[in-house]
């Protein structure tokens, strides 16, 4: 059952509170002195968060960048992933000399709570029962994820993040960070995201959840105790979701109607088409690294996200600060072929920020790669990230470290 989390350390290995660590795959116990209250009312005490850091925190602790991962991401943002063996999900963007330059910035990325890569989540053991939480795990929200990240940042002794950056669900966290902690964020870079999850997106998530729950091996969420895993349901959920991450143009360019390892259709239900084979592969590799219950919890967190709702239904109110605009400098980015988080969603945030005269940049990147573009090689997008961070660094008074002579 531990196939998805083979690196899990015994609780005793988690670092002691108060120490600042650099390196990948760290774990810390938070909420020890005071429990963290979740939006659903439950209090979490002594909970574990897994995280990685890259680069060096400067003397005045002003160069920390929090990277927030997307739905199925994790804290292995730029190093090698221990399960898949592949480079981290944002290796193109984060690293020495990259747009989020680890020669210059101290990058922190944590696995969200509710996740399954080391942070507390439904697959972790409930100390009260000695068994995995399963559906006994409390329902979490994007704001809860951000609360846990804030405790982590406090634990690392950082009062104010230089920048919070992330795409998709990560972008939701970025917006939440800026709204919840405007005094502790200098700049925010939400990418391919929205201030609320749309009805269409909730609908897609529901399809995924129903696929998982319809798998008999799900066992009402108790599969870990039953020695089962709902592989098929989770794979179907991933396949459906994956389509929404791409665009028609990208799918067509990649696969068209090409057949997979055959000259003619078989008049059956094998994966005749390359696109079918590709989706099946996506589903199969996903179940190796992700927990089905985590998928339920995290998609739910996205569904509940609605920044305007908690501010009287007026999004602009979320960005007001002491009778003026939020002090956070924003840069929003969208991708022209993203139909999951279309440009109109980013533009709605931009309009709300304009309505309080906040400092905001906004770029729509022309690409046919769909929502996934934020994870792919998009030089214009990378330039925008680099430029925005450079501009903010100038305002923050961060001096440029001499580039390595590599």
């Amino acid at each position: 059952m531990n196939a998805s989390i083979p690196f899990r350390q015994p609780p005793g290995v988690a670092e002691a509170a108060g120490s600042v660590s650099e390196g990948t795959n760290r774990r810390v116990v938070l909420g020890a002195d005071r429990p963290m209250r979740l939006d659903c009312g439950v209090e979490l005490a002594n909970f574990t968060v897994a995280y990685s850091t890259f680069g060096t925190l400067n003397a005045d602790r002003s160069n920390a960048v929090m990277v927030c991962h997307a739905l199925t991401g994790d804290h292995f943002v730029t190093d090698y992933h221990p399960v898949s063996g592949k480079p981290g999900w944002w290796s193109m963007l984060v690293g020495p000399g990259r747009p989020i330059d680890t020669n210059r910035y101290f990058v922190i990325c944590s696995n969200v709570i509710g996740g399954c890569m080391g942070s507390i989540g439904p697959a972790e053991t409930d100390p009260a029962t000695g068994k995995p939480y399963g559906l006994g795990f409390p329902v979490i929200t994007i704001a809860d994820m951000v609360r846990a990240q804030k405790l982590l940042v406090d634990h690392l002794g950082i009062d104010k993040l230089f920048c919070v950056v992330g795409g998709s669900m990560g972008g939701m966290q970025v917006l939440q960070w800026a709204v919840s902690y405007p005094d502790h964020v200098f700049a925010a870079l939400p990418i391919a995201t929205a201030a609320r999850h749309s009805a269409q997106n909730i609908a897609f998530h529901e399809v995924g959840r129903q696929a998982i729950m319809a798998d008999p091996d799900w066992c009402g969420g108790d599969y870990l105790n039953q020695g089962m895993r709902p592989h098929r349901g989770l794979a179907v959920a991933r396949m459906a979701a994956h389509i929404t991450y791409l665009s028609e143009a990208a799918l067509h360019r990649k696969f068209g109607r090409n057949l997979q390892n055959r000259q003619a259709v078989t008049y059956g239900f094998d994966a005749d088409f390359q696109v079918e084979s590709y989706l099946r592969h996506q589903g199969i590799t996903f179940v190796d690294r992700f927990d089905a219950n985590s998928y339920l919890y995290i998609t739910r967190a996205m569904d509940y996200f609605d920044l305007a709702a908690e501010h009287g239904g007026v999004l602009a109110n979320a960005f007001r600060y002491k009778d003026g605009p939020t002090p956070v400098r924003f840069c929003l980015t969208s991708f022209s072929s993203d139909w999951l988080f279309p440009t109109t969603e980013s533009r709605a945030v931009v309009h709300a920020l304009n309505a309080v005269a906040a400092n905001v940049s906004f770029v729509e990147v022309a690409t046919d790669k769909g929502h996934d573009a934020f994870l792919l090689d998009e030089p214009e997008f990378h330039q925008v990230v680099r430029g925005f961070l450079d501009g903010c660094a100038e305002h923050r008074g961060l001096t440029r470290r001499r580039a390595a002579t590599a």
Binding site: R347, H351, F362, R386, C392
Partner: protein, 219 residues
Amino acid sequence: MSPLDDTSSRNRRSGTIRLDLKLIADMVEPGSRVLDIGCGDGALLDFLVHEKGVDGRGIELSMDGVHTCVSHGLSVIQGDAETDLKDYPSGAFDYVILSQTLQAMRAPRTVLEELVRIGDRAIVSFPNFGYWRIRMALLWLGRMPVTERLGYEWYETPNIHFCTIKDFTSLCDRLDITIDRSVILGRDNRPTRLASADGIANFFGEQGVFMLRRNGRQG
């Protein structure tokens, strides 16, 4: 791309900008809040931010322009002034700049009203269609003028609402907008000694730069 066919409006290395942009920059108080509408490649904005310490923002329609600006660390949104200005609260900026863009607006009148609403001051510059060379081109050639600064044929120009200096000042009058300062530029963007509402300015000025405010605001 600016509605005017200009290239290299700022040399970033030497820190110099085109003469007409410098003129606008000279009207802006150091350290103020500025919104540059149709900021193009950000030449003016960059100059204002780095040389005059303003809190500068921009709006630009073209993707290339926005990319250039944001990649250079300027705060610029990709947007359309005609739909996006209404979002800004009144008095949000000390200066709102509309440089060489008024003639490309679908509703220049509404835009002018928005400018003096969201800015304590608005600085507007535009090419004067009453300029004698343009008049001569129409009179003698009987064709829409294509000049170095207005380098488009009539069927492909983004400039859809040309006006003369006289037209502009009379519209300001009708909208109860006060013209605080005006500078008339002759050839090569050089300021002339001509006065704004003057028929001579309307004839010899190639472009006009006007500082506006809503009537009733303190001068």
